[in-house]
Amino acid sequence: MKFKLSGKSIQAVVLGTLGILSFFIIWQLTCIFTKFGTIFPTPPEVAAGMIRGFIEPIGSVTLLGHIGISLGRVLVGYTLSSVLGTLVGLLMGASRLGKAILYPIFNIIKPIPGIAWIPIAIMWLGIGNATIYFIIFVGGFSQMVMNVMSGASNVDQELVGVARVLGLKKNHVFLTIILPSCVPYIFTGLQVSLSTSWMAVLAAEMITATSGCGWLILAGMQSGIMLNNVLGMIAIGFIGLVLATLMRMLERRLCSWKERN
């Protein structure tokens, strides 16, 4: 039995490596045999460029510097959208009056993609970090609100009823029942809005910045150095993966009593 299992895992490793290898081989062959290769780097060139990127600066800072800059921007916008989104979501989910007042206005904003705010943000705040923070903020905000709201309005009404019958005050009900039962939803919101924020920073940097991973991608194209473009994509993909994994680990730690999906 044990032998059979390890045989299976060997098969998995072999096939998986084959899959990734064939991707790189196709990439390499396309570069060699078509005119694609005249502008686009081959996989070994990208690997070499990546090592160089950690040592020599691309533009103003090294590759790690660009990653750091993008992360810092996401952190600011993401914190803002998480805090405000949770507050507005709780307000709309827990209070019927709050929902009646805010929901129609929120409904105008909700379907607008965060990225579509870029031109407005530039006209309001100019080109710079404030615009990027704003884009990340709007990108995550409505998702946060939607998730928290559905959490707060899906509270087990029997629990609320029991607590009220036993004489708990309304604000106590909110703190001891509604808020805790929202936590898994808040985490779902945090996860979704983190990946949206990461996409928003990329788009915002492509349009208004002079540093960061998004800038790398676009500047690579504009200056004809596709290598920088590929490096930017790898960096963005890798960091996005790390962020998502960290978030999932955190959720498992904090919401162990209720794992959703």
């Binding site: 379907p111 031109p119 996005g240």
Partner: protein, 262 residues
Amino acid sequence: MTKKEKRERKKYLLISVISFAAFILIWECVTEIFGLIPPKKLPSPRTIVNVFLYKLSNTNPDGSVLTAHILTSLKESVLGFIIGVGLGVPLGICMAWFEKFDLFFKPLFDLIKPIPPVGWVPIMLMLFGLSIWSKVTVIAIASIVPAIINSYSGIKQMNPVHKWVAQTFGASDRQILFTVAIPTAGPMIFAGIEVALNASWVTLVAAELVAATQGLGYMIQTSRMVGRIDIVFMGVLVIGAFGALFTWLLGMLRRKLVKGGR
């Protein structure tokens, strides 16, 4: 109780209407009537409506009327969405059904998945230039990812008991796939399609902001450059309206087509 509930509902509906009207009124007041915020920063609701009507028949400042922009955007996003979903759903089903296929593709897919679709714009631009295909391919990438993920986990979710029953009664593998597994995965697959449509609209806007010659994203970007914030606002609202329309249409379709809960 029901009567009271009805009255309550009416009351809250009224509050919603008042709140919405107040929002528009305050907006109009601070911009047009009292001039607290200059029109260069925030156009009044009336200006936005006017510019919407104006843009329907006027090509200033970006070279096309509004309907032409809308049509281009719709064409690009729907085409990309159909390609993405058309490839993604069968691929996801195959990955979940054939183990070797899964082992081969999963690591590669995991490698490509976390790259935000917008990041592909420069490469596609290099390959396809400013034609619609640079946008269509990016949108296809944006919608293929959720399509694969959801159809994969939808099939994997199948209750093994159902499979065993089918096997006991002599169903072939193929019959199990088409009559048990895929219908089970239906709601999940549909949810993936909804996510994909949403992603394709968001990505479209991003792609058009970076590189286009027509389309809603291009319209708001050009209008920003010439300082027409009224057109920018109108464009953003139109983009939002179409996003909402898509969500609503798919929701209706789901209620019609998909049986069973999520």
